[in-house]
Assembly symmetry: C2
Homo-oligomer: 457 residues x 2
């Protein structure tokens, strides 16, 4: 499958050049021992938790990773590669193991979302793709969970729809956002391709241009409702409350045939307009007509509207979620943690990583609320629930992927089990994440050995 | 061509659901007259100019826009569409005209980057794809131009490489960023797929993990330089200046065979480490070994380093450029400006648009420096250089796309023609953009007619 609609490169070329030059070097040096790489996020910044996402995408990539003839032709055209190396890529397969937390698991700083255990060249090559997909999907899911939380902050389950594709970063982002958002609790997407690809619920209303193309707003409303009786009418093209009154007029004219499901407000003071619109609708006996709001929304604005009691039944959320406006990336890293049976780490300032294979145990109190995590060596036995599972062995999945609906339910329950304070939109006290003594000892020993080898103080 | 590596949806489904429900409505209402849509950006926010980018991508999309059998099967599965409508999509083609500024043109708030003139259903359907690609590519190019500007702020042409793919938003973004960045003046990319797709120069060095996989840093340096004599060695894995001294040791051991091109600093105080590294290298007679810097860079940090006199020859720029961290989206819009020969506009607060087809004229002084723009009606004759050109007629390009190298040169010259103040990284005084009296009159008349029709004050 090609990487993008205007590229015939395969996903194998979705990598930084140095991954391939290092792969060639490892082959030349006969370095084919097993490496361990850990993928984690260094800091949460504005977030109280992250919602791990993107695993199924990367497992599909790892299973299908092949260099096509066209990929190899391109690599031959560069100065960096010998023909023997490029010819050998025809047989390249990912043959390693992957341990990972399920999609929809809340995770915290320095906890591995996934570990790859594979011959070093293979484990290195896949870094770029894994980081690209998991960083974005996890970053998006983490913000989407906040948006859904804000929409339900008073206990009422208001719908949230993803309307953000037009300003997301390219085509693939729109698909992955719809997927990650659904796992995080977003109810539907306007993205038709995402509906086709992932079987997600798709939704939409009408655009201002449709209203404007007609001579009069009323004419547009009538024509659209004739074709889509249960539609949502956009009322703010000219004057919002006049628009609402036109909906009332339609209802009176159509009587029992009136089935319009809602109105959408997309500009102005949404709280105030929602209140006035509700009053107009209710006075006409249209209590069943919902009010949807959109336009520049994020979790903070939604929480304000809900907390002010604005009678809004659902939100269409676009750009600020779609581009993760307040935190457009995570400080993700994919670091060598072991090679050929020996733990490895980096000593650069503020960039040390935890060496060796690891596990994360999450503890819960009697009410099922998470009380804290411990990052341990992989072989430690420890109380609590181990989060990392073996999801791929020798390049093959250990089991079929859960459905997105299953991941969504899993995420919902896992989020509900977090301490209440973490669901605040403002930065909460840090959730306790400890590092086990055995892992601390391993880190100290590894650092000491590296310093000794390099004559460092 | 499929939209993404894990979707068999075609680019035709890369759209919001409402574009398709509106298309069906227009067909039912026999509304097939010609519409004009304008794509523009409402506000520049932190930018002093935008660099228009993404046109070639959207022209390719418009030329190739087809609903495949699989796309149609999916649409049939939804409740919204009649079989007749879906069957008819088999013959859907974009048959309209497109007027646009060339890629690499600096543009300002409210100036059309592009206008689509087509039967209204067609012009509406393509909104989502056009906004998605042009918003991202233009946003990225606009920031990339600042980064390159910062790297050359003292008149020395330091190289800038795009290292950002791992934290960009999905796979398509990485390709479009490499493309847009190259037009904006970025010299090379680490993205192999972008090299293959667009013929861009690809570059890379080595990762910390490669160093760490070896027992000793020296061993790693030697092995990599044996295979790639003209490589760049990453020196900060354990202790940066020790790393530099190891490069000196290599040079002494290898004598005339030493061809290492540079070192890379990726952590710590880059300015200070560059100065100390330069001193160590120079003292060993290694004046030709370049110093490259990377790690959390953006235009502000690069300008600081250059202005402090840090002896850095090139920059690898990643996440902050790749995600446009300070401004991850543009306030782009695609608005109906006319239908069936009549100008149209929206009256919602702060969302009015300029009605009808338009042109932008740029004036220059005797030195070739731009002095200001005027947005006019399309048919106005006016002094200065018209920016919008007819690039597609009846669904076919009017001429072959320029090469990326041509667009890069064009952008370079167009940027050089902007007033010097706009190249500051801080917000400069606004560049003058006027609206012609005829266009103002058209807007007033359109607004008055709409208000009269809707009984608005």
């Amino acid at each position: 499958m090609a990487l993008s609609f205007d590229s015939n490169a395969s996903p194998a070329l979705h990598t930084d050049l140095y991954q391939l030059t290092m792969l060639q070097a490892y082959q030349r040096e006969n370095m084919d021992a097993t490496a361990v790489f850990s993928l984690f996020v260094r800091r949460l910044k504005q977030r109280n938790y992250l919602l791990a996402c993107g695993l199924d995408t990367v497992l599909s990539y790892l299973e299908g990773l092949r260099f096509t003839a066209s990929d190899r032709d391109y690599l031959r055209s560069l100065d960096d590669f010998d023909d023997d190396f490029v010819d050998g890529l025809a047989d390249f397969r990912f043959t390693g193991d992957v341990y990972a937390v399920p999609e929809g698991t809340p995770v915290f700083a320095n906890e591995p979302l996934l570990e790859v255990v594979a011959p070093i060249g293979e484990a290195q090559l896949v870094e770029t793709f894994l980081l690209n997909q998991i960083t974005y999907q996890t970053g998006y899911a983490s913000k989407a969970a906040r948006v859904k939380q804000a929409a339900t902050i008073d206990g009422t389950d208001r719908t949230v729809a993803d309307f953000g594709m037009r300003r997301m970063h390219g085509a693939d982002a729109t698909l992955k956002a719809a997927r990650a958002g659904y796992i995080a609790g977003i109810d539907a997407t306007s993205n038709v391709a995402a509906g086709q690809t992932y079987g997600l619920p798709v939704t939409g209303t009408m655009a201002h241009s449709y209203i404007e193309a007609h001579e009069h707003e009323q004419e547009a409303f009538d024509a659209f409702a004739d074709l889509y009786p249960r539609t949502v009418l956009l009322v703010d093209t000219y004057d919002t409350l006049d628009g609402v009154r036109r909906v009332v007029k339609m209802a009176k004219a159509r009587g029992d045939d009136f089935q319009v499901r809602g109105i959408r407000l997309d500009s102005g003071d949404l709280g105030e307009l929602a209140r006035k619109s509700r009053a107009i609708l209710d006075e006409a006996g249209l209590e069943d007509v919902n009010i949807l709001a959109s336009g520049g929304l994020d979790e903070h604005r939604i929480a304000e509207l809900v907390q002010s009691g604005a009678p809004i039944d659902g939100f269409g959320v676009g750009t600020k979620l779609g581009t993760m406006e307040d935190q457009p990336y995570l400080d993700s890293a994919y670091k060598l943690a072991g090679y050929d049976g020996t733990p490895r780490m980096k000593l650069a300032p503020n960039k040390k990583n935890l060496p060796g294979r690891k596990q994360v145990y999450r503890s819960f109190d009697d009410n099922g609320t998470a009380t804290g995590d411990v990052i341990t060596t992989a072989d430690a036995s420890h109380g609590g629930e181990p989060l990392l599972q073996c999801v791929m062995r020798n390049g093959e999945r250990t089991e079929a992927a859960p459905s997105l609906a299953q991941s969504r339910t899993y995420a919902h329950d896992a989020l509900a089990a977090l301490p209440e304070a973490l669901h605040a939109l403002e930065k909460a006290d840090t959730y306790p994440v400890d590092v086990s003594q055995a892992l601390k000892d391993r880190a100290s020993e590894t650092e000491a050995a590296l310093k000794a080898a390099h004559d460092l103080p």
